[in-house]
Symmetry: C2
Subunit: 288 residues, 2 copies
DNA sequence: GGGTGTCATACCGCGAGGGTATCGCCCGTG
DNA sequence: CACGGGCGATACCCTCGCGGTATGACACCC
């Protein structure tokens, strides 16, 4: 038996991931910008080279085998690693070092201005570009689009990232001013039973409340179509027609600064150190 | 300007990594099993596509640019991720699940037999294959050759891995029986000044003491050519002509069980849990 | 039973990747 | 200082594999 080459081209991985995500050769081919037959062949060839059946197709439906599931997961990670290598290499070559920080609008607990100021005052500081993105910030760090990101644990997945905890926050429910619970001083999660809780990008609830950006979410709340449970620090930025009410038993959220574990950049290390220092000072200042 | 494709074929990465490691096109080409001209072209093309100079070649020597260094590091990681994807997919497809554990001969602090027995008694346990390797065990986990490994922190690099601490050990110096320090009840690192310390695979000391396997190291110690500082648990397996003397101020070593952070396997989770449990019991038994 | 949608097969053309031969350059060395 | 050796780049050719179009096989729907 031929041992089979121990590697696979990224093109093949991309193809497989597309099919595995779409579960449909035609759509996947369109998404990849190629015709369907070459795609079918590529997948067959991949299966032959791996010596493993990846997809079960029965002329009507396509579904993943056990092996297919693993290759989807692992392939996505591998592709992210390749993109990261490319992007980081490009950045390293363009001279002029800088840091890219991914943040969520309003999701910095107001720490960001102070962190940026403190870091800029550091000897040897490099320019910091802020890129805003509501979702995907973890993926941006993993695939090199950003050097670091502000994430909310445990809402967001931290696997593969090194983290520094900045701030632990309790959560509040965001409600329209006229809501039956808006006057309460405090709520419990049980009080929110029956309310449409979109809970960010996770399991999409019945009414297909797909939230991509916090403005959308706040709009839905104002319309009475959703109720959001978010970190307390959001309260400062609420629209005038919304109120935040503490939810006593909602699990606390931790704001973390995350970066790739294997990062070797001096500038990043200094930034992390500064951010941690600023967060520590802020925590002391708020409750001494 | 063409934005340039945001990805790169693994073949190109392999080629670049070979050249970057060899710093010599001819040798790299031989290692890759291709001729030198196509390799030169491939690298040039890669540089053009990334829009970045990767190597500085001046007709006599080849050296890495800043960007080249990053691509070497990141490319190696990306290639490991691809191999891992391939290997794990193959294993997932071959039915018959099992676990592969990488260990160093003599490096298990005698915990392994008990861990294996305890795990085998677990409901739903799968067969566990042990693969021995003195170096590289971390890499084996990262690239999918093993599901888990026993590593010694901080001697070995744990980035990218999830770990469970099993045992913290003090270290002993291994000396020939006739050595001037062999009779002492305890040493300090200062006592070892001037002794040839190979300290495992790290910085190779002057005499090019490249150690690949612990038997070699012990042999060198017996010959008076080296002195080793190793975890205490080694003492049980020493050759008759060697003795171990505690080194008071050597940093303690931690034996950890490491596995890929994003692992999703039930069997692995159960194995980790069992190993931690066994280690905890052993620690209590030894100093109650 | 025709129509439609889906994946597989057949066949073809072109371009990228690999091979050989050779150049240009630098650096030893006698 | 001329010459040879070593190394990477260039020139040229050829093959193989990727992608495209056309078509087949099959299942499901009305």
């Amino acid at each position: 038996m031929t041992p089979g080459d121990d590697t696979v081209e990224t093109r093949e991985l991309t193809y497989f991931v597309a099919v595995a995500e779409e579960l449909h050769f035609g759509r996947a081919a369109r998404r990849l910008g190629i015709a369907q037959p070459p795609l079918s062949r590529a997948i067959q060839q991949l299966e032959r080279r791996l010596g493993v059946r990846l997809l079960e197709r029965d002329h009507r439906t396509v579904e993943l085998t056990e092996a297919g599931e693993t290759l989807l997961r692992e392939g996505q990670a591998a592709l992210a690693a390749v993109s990261a290598a490319v992007r980081r290499t490009r950045r390293a070559g363009r001279g002029a070092p800088s840091l890219v920080l991914a943040a969520k609008p309003g999701g910095d607990a107001d720490l960001l201005p102070e962190i940026l100021a403190a870091y800029a005052a550091t000897p040897g500081a490099v320019p910091v570009d802020i890129v805003f993105s509501a979702l995907e910030r973890g993926a941006m760090v993993r695939d090199g689009r950003a050097d670091a990101a502000l994430l909310h644990a445990p809402r967001e997945d931290l696997t593969g990232l090194a983290v520094e905890e900045l701030l632990v926050e309790s959560q509040v429910a965001v409600l329209p001013r006229g809501h039956r619970l808006a006057g309460r001083a405090e709520l419990s999660m049980a009080d929110l039973d029956g309310e449409p809780l979109p809970r960010w990008p996770g399991a999409v609830p019945e009414g297909s409340l797909r939230i991509a950006e916090s403005g959308q979410l706040m709009h839905l709340v104002a319309l009475g179509r959703a109720v959001a449970v978010v970190p307390r620090s959001i309260q400062g930025n609420l629209r005038h027609d919304l109120v935040g009410v503490p939810v006593a038993d909602a699990p606390p959220t931790t704001l973390v600064l995350a970066w790739p574990q294997d990062a070797r950049s001096r500038a990043l290390a200094a930034f992390v150190r500064t951010a941690a220092e600023v967060a520590r000072r802020a925590a002391h200042a708020n409750r001494p």
